[in-house]
C-alpha cells in the first residue's frame, strides 16, 4: 500500500535529488565510477501466542530488498541511492517502501580543517548506548521494522560538517517531517487501535514542511568520546489522539508538536571496559496522559569483555544499562525505570557466529522482555539471522501491556551482493 505520506516524501526527496545531482552529473563530463551492492532477504515470523485483538495474524512471511547504487566522480563528489522495500504477507502497513538514502556528498579541506556537505536523504546515528538510542533524534523510527531496535526512515536534509583538531561540528537543516510507521490492523506488536497515518496533524502551520534544525559537537580525547547535541523542531514521537476513520471505526490519529531537545552522549573506553552515558532534556513534550511536560531521561551503564575465554576463541561481553525517564510511569516508552542486562557471545569462527541474549526488566513490577539473537554467515553471500523475543509477566500498568501476547520468533535468510 503506497500511502500519500510516502508519495509526499518521495516528492520532497526528488526535489533534492533533481536540484543537486542533475546539475553535477550534467556538469561532470568526465568519468563517473559506479558500484552496485546490497542485500535481499527472506523473512518468516511466528507469533506462538493467540492474538490479543481481532484480525491479527499468527504468522507472516515476506522479503526485503535493499540495493545501493554508488556513483563517484573524479571531481570529488559522490552520490548514493539506497531504496528499501519490504513485503509482508500479513500486514499491509508493514509492506512499505522507503528511500533510506539518496544524497550528494561533497567534501574538501580548508587549512588544517576539513568540511563535508551532504544534500538529500540520509540517515544519521548519534549515541553510544545499546539498549536504546536516546539522543538519536534526526531520523524518524521505522517502527514496523522492529518493535524496539529503532531502525530509521530516510530523512531529507542539508548536513554540513566542519572538523579539525578541536573536534567535529555538524549542522542539520531538516526540510521535511516523516510520520512514524505503525503496524496495520492485521499486524502484531500494536496498540488495541490502529494508528491512521492518513490523519497526521501538526502543531506547526507549515505542517510536515517545517524546517527543523539540529546541531552536534563531538570530540575524542584520550579514553573519552563525547557528543553534545541540540534539536529544535517537529517531534519524531507522536501523541496519539483517539479518532475515527472514514468508516466511523475508532482509530488513533498521530499529532506531532514542536519540541526542543538537548542531548549528551559520552563513552569512556578503558581496557576491556566501556562506560556509556546518554542523557536528554526535552522541552514541550507530552507524557502518556497527554499532559505537556519538560522532562529529562538518561541511560548509563557499561560493557566488559572477556577475551578468548578459557583458552578458546570465544569472546564474552557482559552489558548492563540503567534506563531512566523523568516522567516515571507516565513515560511514553518502556524505559522509565528499567534495567537492561545482556551477554554477547562472539565465537570468532569462520562463520563469525554471534549470539546476543538480553533481558529488559522493570524495576517496579514483574515485566520482563527477553531477547535472543543469533547471527551466522553461511557462505560468502548468504547469512542467517534468528531472533526470538518474549514478553513475560507484563504488568497491566506497563506500557508494553498492549503487546504482551506478541512474543515472536523471526528467521531471516539474507543474500548479500
Amino acid at each position: 500500500m503506497i500511502r500519500r505520506s510516502v508519495l509526499r516524501y518521495a516528492l520532497s526527496g526528488a526535489i533534492w535529488i533533481l536540484s543537486t545531482v542533475s546539475g553535477f552529473v550534467a556538469g561532470a563530463g568526465s568519468k563517473i565510477d559506479h558500484q552496485i551492492s546490497g542485500s535481499f532477504s527472506i523473512e518468516s515470523q511466528w507469533f506462538p501466542e493467540s492474538a490479543a485483538y481481532p484480525d491479527q495474524r499468527g504468522h507472516a512471511t515476506g522479503f526485503v530488498m535493499e540495493p545501493e547504487i554508488y556513483l563517484d566522480s573524479i571531481e570529488g563528489w559522490s552520490f548514493i541511492l539506497a531504496p528499501f522495500l519490504r513485503y509482508d504477507s500479513a500486514d499491509l502497513h508493514r509492506t512499505h517502501a522507503d528511500l533510506r538514502e539518496a544524497y550528494l556528498l561533497l567534501f574538501g579541506d580548508v587549512g588544517n580543517d576539513e568540511w563535508e556537505l551532504r544534500l538529500g536523504i540520509d540517515r544519521v546515528f548519534w549515541g553510544v548506548a545499546e539498549s536504546r538510542h536516546l539522543v538519536n533524534i534526526v531520523n524518524q523510527i521505522d517502527l514496523v521494522e522492529h518493535p524496539y531496535k529503532e531502525l530509521k526512515l530516510g530523512q531529507p536534509m542539508a548536513h554540513l560538517t566542519w572538523s579539525g583538531d578541536w573536534g567535529m561540528a555538524e549542522l542539520f537543516g531538516l526540510t521535511y517531517h516523516r510520520p512514524r510507521t505503525f503496524p496495520g490492523r492485521s499486524g502484531r506488536l500494536r496498540l488495541p487501535l490502529v494508528v491512521d497515518n492518513d490523519q497526521v496533524s501538526y502543531e506547526s502551520a507549515a505542517k510536515q514542511w517545517h524546517m527543523d534544525l539540529a546541531a552536534r559537537y563531538s570530540h575524542s580525547f584520550g579514553l573519552f568520546d563525547i557528543g553534545i547535541s541540540a534539536f529544535d523542531g517537529t517531534s519524531r514521537e507522536p501523541f496519539l489522539f483517539p479518532g475515527t476513520d472514514f468508516t466511523g471505526a475508532p482509530i488513533l490519529a498521530p499529532h506531532y508538536e514542536q519540541i526542543r531537545q538537548v542531548g549528551l552522549d559520552t563513552q569512556m573506553t578503558a581496557g576491556s571496559w566501556l562506560f556509556k552515558l546518554e542523557a536528554i532534556q526535552r522541552l514541550d513534550a507530552r507524557d502518556r496522559l497527554g499532559r505537556k511536560v519538560d522532562y529529562t531521561a538518561s541511560v548509563f551503564g557499561g560493557e566488559y569483555t572477556f577475551y578468548s575465554v578459557l583458552g578458546s576463541t570465544v569472546d564474552i561481553s557482559l552489558l548492563g544499562e540503567w534506563n531512566y525517564d523523568g516522567r516515571g510511569h507516565n513515560a511514553t516508552n518502556v524505559f522509565q525505570k528499567d534495567l537492561f542486562l545482556a551477554a554477547r557471545f562472539a565465537l570468532n569462527d569462520v562463520q563469525s557466529t554471534e549470539i546476543l541474549a538480553s533481558v529488559l526488566g522493570d524495576a517496579d513490577n514483574s515485566s520482563r522482555i527477553l531477547a535472543f539473537e543469533l547471527n551466522r554467515r553461511l557462505s560468502d553471500q548468504w547469512s542467517l539471522n534468528l531472533e526470538a523475543i518474549a514478553f513475560l509477566d507484563i504488568d497491566p500498568a506497563d506500557i508494553s501491556y498492549e503487546i504482551r501476547r506478541d512474543s515472536f520468533i523471526d528467521l531471516n535468510l539474507i543474500y548479500n551482493f
Binding site: 563535508e116 581496557g271 576463541t313 569472546d315 570468532n348 569462520v350 563469525s352 554471534e354 560468502d380
Partner: protein, 270 residues
Amino acid sequence: MIFTRSMLPYLSLCLIILTGLGPGPVYSESATPEEMGLKIARESHAREDGFGNYTARQTMALRNKNGQESRRQLRVKVLEVPEDGDKSLFVFDEPRDVRGTALLIHAHRESADDQWLYLPALKRVKRISSSNRSGSFMGSEFAYEDLTPQAVEKFTYRYLREEPCGGGTCTVTERVPVDRKSGYSRQVVWRDKDELRVWKVEYYDRKDSHLKTLTLGNYEQFLDRYWRAGEMTMENHLTGKSTVLTWTDFQFRTDLDDRDFTQTGLRRVR
C-alpha cells in the same frame, strides 16, 4: 551484520611486516645474547622510518584441515606518525555481509591504541576496545597480538644463533612478550642478516608447546628501501588449520594525509 571484534586486530597485520631493511650485520661478537637480540630489533624498526604512507590490498584464505577454504578481502591505508604509532584505515570488501565495514586505528607507543569501527548498515561510528590480545580473527590462525604493531619495548630479546634460511643467512632470536595477557610464552624469529627481513616466526603457547609457525615470502622492495612480504602463511600445528595472507597493489607516498584518518573520513569510507 556479522562482524566480530576479534576481526579487528587482524587489520593491523600490515604493521608486523614493517621489519628490517638496510645493509650489514648489526651485532658484534662482544655483546651479550640479550644485547644482540635487542640491537637487531631496534635496527629493524629504525629501517622503517620515513615511509610516509601507503595503500594496499589484502586477501586472506582460511583453510581447515579438510582443505575447505574461506576468503576475506580488504583495502588498507597506513599513515606514518612520527614520534607515535601509525594511523591505519581498513575497509572490508569480502565477505559480502561485512562489505563497507571500516576500522580506524590510531596506534600509540605509550598508551593503548584508539580504535573506531564504522558499521554502514546503521551508519554508526563506534569506539571499541583495543585490549583484545590473544583472540583469533574470524576463525583465522592469526591472533590479535600477531598482528599489532610490534614496538621494540613489547618484548625482551635473546640472540640464539645463525643459520641458513630463505633470505640467505638468518639470525635466530628469541623474544618473550612483556604483556602478561599474551597467549605466548615466547616467539622465535628468523631474520636475514643483509636486509633484516623476517622469514619465519615460531609461536610457543603458555605451556611452551609449539603452537603456530608463520612463514613469509615474495618480498618486494619499494622506494629502494622498504621491504614488504607479498605472502604470509600461518600454520596451526594443534588444529591443522592454516591461513594465507596475500598482499597486492602496494602504493607508497600517495596523497594521503591526516584528514583521511579522522572520524569524519571514516563515515565517508566506501
